[in-house]
Symmetry: C2
Amino acid sequence: MSESTDLDPQCYCPTSGIIDLLSRKYAMQTLCAVGALEPVRYGELETAFGDVSSSTLSARLEDLTGAGLLEREQYDEIPPRVEYRLSDDGEELCERLEPVLAWVRERES
Amino acid sequence: MSESTDLDPQCYCPTSGIIDLLSRKYAMQTLCAVGALEPVRYGELETAFGDVSSSTLSARLEDLTGAGLLEREQYDEIPPRVEYRLSDDGEELCERLEPVLAWVRERES
DNA sequence: CGGTATCCAAAGTGATACTG
DNA sequence: CAGTATCACTTTGGATACCG
């Protein structure tokens, strides 16, 4: 009888700003790459991905930072240096996302 | 010295068919909704999401089925009945994806 | 019921060029 | 080094109409 106990339609978060954000290209990979490499610089990420365009990577970093998942620290040096790392929220999400990426990696290899 | 032990760039799966697939609208939610409701019919999913267009939901189900993550079974009855459920791979992925969606749900509520 | 076909609008992406 | 600006292009999504 208790068949529909946990089936509130809302539980599928049909619309979600964060999901939309994570659905953009390289978004999940960027979050997890920062988690793996932090503190990490822009150029390191560009190298790690290899074929991402600077405008796309830049947009993704801004998306994630704007959503409070990454923190960006800028050092006023010459040459300029910027470091990205996970925020507390970003770390929580990254922990949950990493198994997904690991599984995909495994399955596609 | 062993600083770059685990930093193979490939480990970020910069390009991935499955990630691209999961990045489409309602893809992650559809996979997990099937996991929660299986066996589930097309109409139930449409109801659960509420505002998804039939062409989009249809495309997503075909994507996921084509990727081997869902199984589609059609019964030749009147009226027609179709049931979706997770494949073994779909179940593995869903298990890993569910914590992500749960966290997002929690954070946005 | 469970879709598909078509067409159009919107969003996302990348190449290129340029900057503090 | 770490980006941004512009713009053309591709991909995706939704509305509508229709079908087995």
